[in-house]
């Protein structure tokens, strides 16, 4: 066994040992033990991913573990990248979780399940046969479902969210199962090698791709299969939200890449235009919902949908360009998508952990009830600011680098990609630009309303800084955000090598890498350079210069204290501040036709006069329009069918027996007639 194998097996072993250990140890030691083991496993997993990504692959075959098929594992560069990301997220979440668990999450199930969840997420990208993949996938779904349910005694919404999640994830699993099982049957074998070598008729290829795309896209929270995400991610405990939103959704992207590009070797252009379209729709819809959300964790969940949409824009563009024969640009788009996966994982971990800190300190996730945390939780505020900067895709955040690369690939594709490309690519550029703009508004809202200004409720006023372990977990995630932002060259060479080898038609050995450079990143074959470090330095110099000038200018005058101008209305109360809802109101007005918000205004006049108002009640709600149009009719039909079917069951045992008897004789008669 080489270094990669040793590290990977150590990671899995630690996870699998941590679960029973967490069950057996007493309550006080449990979070520390489970957290330490998961941290070590995450470190080992990340290291295994990095070594495998740099070329030292590893594969194993365990025939005795699963009946009939056995387990096959193979850490190739594609899987290794996702293993590395999962490991890194697990480290941050586990360190954070040690302290977060004191909040009533130190039960046996809540502590024993996270290591298993991490193990399943390490296994999914390492699986090298259909049955191994499916078993790991199902384990991932079940453990995450258990974790979503961890706080079900506290809030009624948890049960509903878990139900949505359970149904959607299992429908997705059924789609993947159907697609891959059909693929394996047609290929005459279920290992990935056999699937790669199989030549399928075009119709079957389309069916396999569409079925697996539906399943994997639902895991990635892609519109219109996103309805579970914004429910389940917020209701899970925060470090689990981070694991789900930063690591588990990536598995959907992994599945699309594995099946579409690796096993099926790319495909017709319309597959990838479909992926691109779904990605564009998700990016816009997700960020719009995030922009008007006032629940902090829900906002982050919608932002996950947006970012996965951006990743799929890159993946779709890569597949589309490769089907047109432009491998270099395809590799660039794919490298950008992979980099965005890494970046998103880094900042989404940070943001969810910070949101958890806020929830821990104030007891609420409602932005309209927060505020004033800057003075009370300075570390959390600073760390959230780093994450918000990254998520809003502005320099010097890390999201900027990957979105810039993505835009470059789309812009350069314009002249060469035919009519379909000439229509799609500008639209995709527009979508990315619009979503980036809305993301800025969203995260300005989240940070400004949540952390700055004055506290709006007593809960926010009583907030205090989180314990060191939680800060530590967030700091690790923030550090990776900063490294990715200033020196993307730490990961880009590996990712662009992977992208170049993954693009179909790149041949052996794969073509030159699409992006290279240490400090300044250069596109291969196209004009375009970017230097994140220099941009950051220039920005820092500009800001420091500006601050210095202001200080210099302001310090010449004597400082004087005066009351803030309040229109003569007396001292200003926190109720006069902007809230998240009011901040998003203009946006909501602009996108009124898309969002279809519902608002309700009740004015109660006093008895004496209709012109004097006693009280005003205002209620606003922004329902998910896709859910309302697409899911509600199906649910209503299922409910109606169920109610109609109760007529069949009138309680008479004889009637129930008669159903069986009639069915049996009908089948027998049919058999007798046919044979």
């Amino acid at each position: 066994m080489n270094l990669t194998g040793t590290l990977f097996v150590a990671a899995l072993g630690l996870c699998l040992a941590a679960a029973p250990a967490a069950v057996l140890t007493p309550r006080r030691a449990r979070p520390l033990l489970a957290g330490a083991a998961t941290t070590a496993a995450g470190l080992a997993g990340a290291a295994a991913g990095v070594t495998a990504l740099s070329g030292q692959g590893w594969s194993a075959r365990l025939d005795g573990v699963l009946p009939l098929a056995g387990v096959r594992l193979d850490l190739d560069p594609l899987g290794a990248m996702f293993v590395a990301v999962t490991g890194a997220v697990a480290v941050c979440a586990a360190v954070y979780g040690v302290a977060y668990a004191r909040h009533g999450l130190d039960g046996r199930v809540a502590q024993a399940t996270p290591p298993l969840f991490v193990a399943s997420m390490l296994l999914v990208p390492a699986a090298a046969s259909v049955s191994t993949l499916l078993v790991a996938w199902e384990l991932m779904a079940l453990t995450s479902l258990l974790l979503v349910l961890a706080e079900h005694r506290r809030r009624a919404a948890v049960g509903e969210a878990a139900l949505w999640y359970a149904v959607m994830t299992h429908l997705g699993f059924a789609a993947i199962l159907a697609g891959l099982a059909g693929f394996a049957a047609l290929a005459g074998g279920e290992t990935f090698e056999q699937l790669r070598a199989a030549g399928l008729p075009p119709g079957a290829r389309d069916a396999v791709f569409l079925a697996t795309l539906a399943g994997f896209a639902s895991k990635a929270g892609i519109v219109p299969l996103h309805v579970w995400l914004a429910r389940a991610h917020p209701e899970a405990p925060s470090q689990v939200s981070a694991l789900m939103s930063a690591a588990m959704v990536n598995m959907g992207v992994y599945g699309i890449l594995r099946v579409g590009l690796d096993l099926l070797h790319g495909g017709p252009a319309w597959w990838w235009l479909l992926v691109l379209g779904a990605g564009a729709l998700s990016a816009l819809f997700g960020i719009l919902q995030a922009a008007v959300a006032s629940d902090l964790k829900r906002l982050l969940g919608h932002s996950t949908t947006e970012n996965m949409g951006l990743v799929l824009i890159g993946v779709g563009a890569a597949g589309f360009l490769a089907s047109g024969g432009d491998s270099m640009l395809a590799a660039l788009a794919l490298a950008a998508a992979l980099l965005h996966v890494v970046n998103h994982s880094a900042f989404k971990t940070l943001l969810f952990l910070a949101a958890g800190s806020v929830l821990h300190a104030t007891g609420t996730r409602d932005l309209d009830a927060l505020g004033g945390l800057r003075a009370r939780m300075p570390c959390t505020t600073a760390l959230f600011a780093v994450g918000a900067l990254a998520a809003s895709a502005l320099p010097p955040g890390n999201g900027f680098v990957s979105e810039w690369l993505l835009l470059q690939s789309l812009i350069h594709a314009l002249p060469t990609s035919g009519v379909a490309g000439a229509v799609t690519m500008p639209l995709a550029v527009g979508v990315i630009a619009l979503s980036a703009g809305l993301a800025i508004a969203t995260f300005v809202k989240a940070f400004g309303v949540g952390f700055l200004a004055r506290p709006r409720t007593p809960g926010a006023e009583r907030a205090s800084e989180s314990p060191p372990a939680m800060i530590g977990g967030m700091a690790l995630a923030a550090a990776s955000c900063v490294i990715l932002a200033l020196a993307p060259a730490t990961v880009l060479p590996g990712l662009s090598r992977l992208a170049a080898s993954l693009v179909p038609g790149s041949g052996h050995p794969p073509g030159p890498v699409p992006v290279s450079g240490e400090v300044t990143l250069r596109l291969t074959g196209y004009e375009g350079t970017i230097s994140p470090l220099l941009i950051a330095v220039a920005l820092a110099i500009a800001v420091i210069g500006l601050l210095g000038a202001v200080r210099l200018f302001a310090s010449r005058r004597a400082r004087r204290a005066a009351r803030l101008w309040d229109c003569g209305a007396g001292p200003m109360s926190p109720r006069m501040e902007y809230t998240a809802t009011s901040f998003a109101e203009p946006l909501q007005r602009v996108f009124d036709d898309v969002l279809e918000p519902e608002s309700d205004l009740d004015v109660t006049p006093t008895k004496e006069s209709a012109y004097l108002v006693e009280s005003v009640r205002f209620r606003a709600r922004i329902p998910d329009r896709i859910e309302r149009r697409l899911y509600d009719p199906v649910l209503a039909a299922a409910g109606a069918l169920g109610r109609a079917a109760t007529g069949l069951a009138n309680g008479s045992v004889h009637r129930y027996l008669a159903y069986g008897f009639y069915a049996l004789t009908a089948v027998l008669v049919a058999l007798a007639v046919i044979w």
């Binding site: 004889h654 008897f661 007798a672 044979w675």
Partner: protein, 219 residues
């Protein structure tokens, strides 16, 4: 045993097996139904013993004796005890009347005969040619379950089905492994015990064993 003795004996046992099954539909006196069931159990035992004699297999003969003992002795004894405790002597109002039931039994026999033709064609021995008989009893047993109201008739219907399944197993294979047969018999014994307890409980709760009284329990 030569074929000239074996085939008539086998046919006799199968005929008696079928006849008792159909007669269960005819009689409405619960004590008579239990007696008919006991006779059918004995027929089943005889059927297995005849098969064992023909193949010269001692194991099969032991199985026949055990099956006969259970189904002609122990189970009827348990049911009679339940009957004594209750005192409801008759199947008052079956959902399909006796004449209709007998007609249905004839139709079911035809269906069973038509359906089992492919099975018989596989190995056309005298034993497999008797499979339609077992299948008919199975369907008749199911029909008893569907149309009879008293809990005890239901138990008999259930046991008729089981008798038929056992008969099919012995007729189509050359002897069921002892372990399987033991397991099945034990299952049946337990099922009857449970049903007996249920019957007693029902009587305590509703004052009768008409299953349609259970309708109140819905939702």
């Amino acid at each position: 045993m030569t074929d000239s003795v074996y085939v008539p004996l086998l046919d006799l046992a199968c005929g008696a097996f079928l006849l008792t099954g159909v007669l269960v539909l005819w009689r409405r006196d619960l004590a008579a139904i239990v007696r008919l069931f006991a006779v059918q159990g004995a027929d089943l035992g005889a059927l297995v013993i005849v098969l064992g004699l023909h193949k010269g297999s001692a194991e099969l003969m032991i199985a026949g004796v055990a099956v006969g003992g259970l189904r002609a002795g122990l189970l009827p004894c348990l049911m009679r005890r339940a009957l004594m405790a209750g005192g409801e002597g008759r199947e008052t109002k079956p959902l399909v009347n006796v004449a209709g039931s007998l007609l249905v039994a004839a139709v079911l026999a035809m269906v069973a005969y038509a359906v089992s033709q492919p099975l018989v064609r596989l190995t056309p021995t005298p034993a497999t040619q008797a499979v339609p008989v077992a299948l008919t009893v199975l369907l008749v047993g199911f029909f008893v379950l569907v149309t009879r109201r008293r809990a005890l008739s239901q138990v008999v219907g259930f046991l008729l089905m089981d008798n038929a399944i056992t008969a099919t197993a012995f007729l189509t294979t050359s002897g069921v492994p002892m372990v399987v047969e033991l397991g099945v018999s034990l299952d049946i014994l337990l099922a009857v015990l449970v049903l007996q307890v249920l019957t007693t409980r029902m009587r305590a709760a509703f004052g009768g064993t008409d299953l349609d009284e259970l309708r109140e329990l819905r939702d």
